[in-house]
Symmetry: C2
Subunit: 497 residues, 2 copies
Amino acid sequence: MKTGSFNELLPYLDRYMALGTAMSIMDWDANTAAPEEASEYTAKVLGILSQERFCTLINPSVKEIMGRIDEESLSDKEKAIFKKLKKEYEKSETIPADEMREFGELCSRANRVWQKAKQENDFSIYAPYLKKLIAYKKKFATYAKKGEEKLYDILLDEYEETFGMKELDRFFGKLKAEIIPLLKRISEAEEIDDSFFYQDYEIEKQKEWNHFLAEYMGFDFKRGVIAESEHPFTTSWHNHDVRITTHYYKNNLTSAILSTIHEGGHALYEQGVDDSLTQTMVGEGASCAMHESQSRFYENSLGRSEEFWVPLYPKLVETFPKQLMDVPLEKFVCALNKVKADFIRTEADELTYCLHIMVRYEMEKLMIEEDTPVEELPELWKQKYKEYLGIVPENDTQGILQDVHWSMGDIGYFPSYALGNAFAAQIYNTMKKDLPVEELLRQGKISVITEYLREHIHQYGASKEPRQLLKDLTGEEFNPDYYIQYLKEKFEKVYHL
Amino acid sequence: MKTGSFNELLPYLDRYMALGTAMSIMDWDANTAAPEEASEYTAKVLGILSQERFCTLINPSVKEIMGRIDEESLSDKEKAIFKKLKKEYEKSETIPADEMREFGELCSRANRVWQKAKQENDFSIYAPYLKKLIAYKKKFATYAKKGEEKLYDILLDEYEETFGMKELDRFFGKLKAEIIPLLKRISEAEEIDDSFFYQDYEIEKQKEWNHFLAEYMGFDFKRGVIAESEHPFTTSWHNHDVRITTHYYKNNLTSAILSTIHEGGHALYEQGVDDSLTQTMVGEGASCAMHESQSRFYENSLGRSEEFWVPLYPKLVETFPKQLMDVPLEKFVCALNKVKADFIRTEADELTYCLHIMVRYEMEKLMIEEDTPVEELPELWKQKYKEYLGIVPENDTQGILQDVHWSMGDIGYFPSYALGNAFAAQIYNTMKKDLPVEELLRQGKISVITEYLREHIHQYGASKEPRQLLKDLTGEEFNPDYYIQYLKEKFEKVYHL
């Protein structure tokens, strides 16, 4: 007879949530506002909070209560939380609190050093930190290992449950077989002119425009904030405070626009989580990949379509008349879909994007499964870019130093970007049967589309698993073929192949 | 034989510090960035953290360790921390953790409602919150009461140790006797023209100028941030991250300038605390009044002097040529020292400032000692302004709703502003014997003055008590006569009396 009640867990879950929120706010602050020399001292605070948070969940009292709870007696919401708690518990139970604290401090420092290394194109100052980060991640994975599991599979599972190397190798294999030849055909086609994107676009006006754009998308400014940071990101303390950042470049109009739409997609997801779930362990997006499916759906499927721009483009021309007066809508949208192998993932076109991810996936396999020395990674990065994209970055700032993820201890995260694209294509395929998407966009009724996603995905937060969300919405299991089909159809049309 | 070691306390002190830092960051964020609808949800987080922080310090393990520590064996720094810990302990030990948590949540909500009430000039929506805040403060004071102590003395002691009603009544009595007659004589003298302060001053340019001014003062932007908020304030997570806010008004040049100098004075204090003390319980300013002595010294004794402006004024004229071209330095400085009874404390001139504080001191006595109903407070506020300053605020926004303090649960804080002024005058009196202050200012060498304050005050943080700092620097006990003498000499000169 199990005598435990779910309510006994609430004080622990609340503290865990509160400490997590505090850490997120400090992280947001570090990336948007904090002064240069604060990091060492603030890292100490983050390290302590990280350990506190860990101990709040991983302790004998929680374990004892969990042991007394009869899962069958729980409500659906409680079940979902309990499941997540158990997973979190199993995963972390093996990590000593001291090591977790050291790791938290290391991440905070590594992130600062990475910023400097990127700025100064100096991988060597970052290398010792990356080396330590890899060692920690491998050690943590080893602690969690059961039987014959591969360490990288364990890390992947942390970000996207049940999607391991076997499924990813197949997925990337398909992409490789279909997309590299398509990219080759495109590189032989006539180049699209997008030079007008790179004129002088006053930053203050860009800010205003992006603010307007976020509002148009449905980003609720009463429950959110937009700021600036080196690398755009989204963070959420609860469904009433969701924050995105962007980065403005004077000579690049679309970089900020596309990142606003992308992060805006993440934000709509978080703002759309049901009130009954927010501030619980299932009060956020279902997974990295499901999150990415939303951001990339807005960015690519909607944001790079002609219909999306029908109601918006006149206002953009009005804001930048000198630069865009002679650019018709069709030309603008065509340029948004220009394919060109280039170095920076976040600026990549929709087609080559997955190849950027593939490079990172393979790099992570090398780090974790092959023990490749950190010093060799920059060169390997360049080789892979040559092989898949046909280009070689001139320096590490444009190469291995471009992404923030590893510096924050996130190894195994990148593949979820590619999975997200695939989820998005599968969802879009069904949505088109249910809604006149293109017509709605033309009429400026993007809110109907967001409402559809809210109903089928956003509101559930993480109370349903990604595979379940996909199945409930599309009626079938995860199927990456929709993504490949979507890419081929779209870009054969764009390039008249 | 006492067997305890101070090091046993460190994990608890570190956690206490870390949670306090997190709460400060969230508070900063709430006042500078957070979206409108976030507060209810974020209040929940703050409430939990506040309780966590409380329990980190107030628990049987800490008490047990403290009981085993031989104070005589401690280093000076440890002694200072231990003393502060004991006081904190005694004060808080009596407050149940649940009540502390409720109080934390109440403050967060009350602060939001106060903002709205002030904006909409509607005391009635704020009144129930203020009533609850007073009730909590009285209850907490009652818990701490020993023998015949008055509740308000207990609250006062929380902000400025050992300065109770008896000393304050005497202090304000002296001010009343000397300053009200002086104010009367000034009101009969010829009015100073300061109309040029209230022209149109572009906000972007004001921001640039105030940024420059803070830098000139010695505010270290590598260890600090300036932002904007409704009510200017300073906050510090450690000596490497100190933040100030200001508020810009298009038709008021000096409001932002004087608040930058004022908050800059607070910030120099915090940035000047020694590295060995930061992130400990004595790693911040010695007390509210000592803090205020520094901010008001920079704002008034330096910032309103002609010598201060000698190196700066040409640049200000350069920034606002149209507005200031015809205003000579002497006229500018004379206008900075204009005395005019007005409604807003933070905009008050140096002479009437202490009368604003006197009103609040008497209001707090009514709230705590006389049980005056909250509903009657706005009217009493008006009566006191009439009696002391000869003016009656037209509405509550300009009256009782103007200050943030009560809404954050700070009742008993205001008197330390007046004490701070008195500390400043006493310190200035000694400093002038040690340094050629006016000559240094003329030469733009304000850093020498800051260095002097750093040496005698800032570096010690709270490891020395205010009375001790004063005595070590000036060679005598606290003596408010210097303040009254300073005010009389200065304003008789300004007004040629």
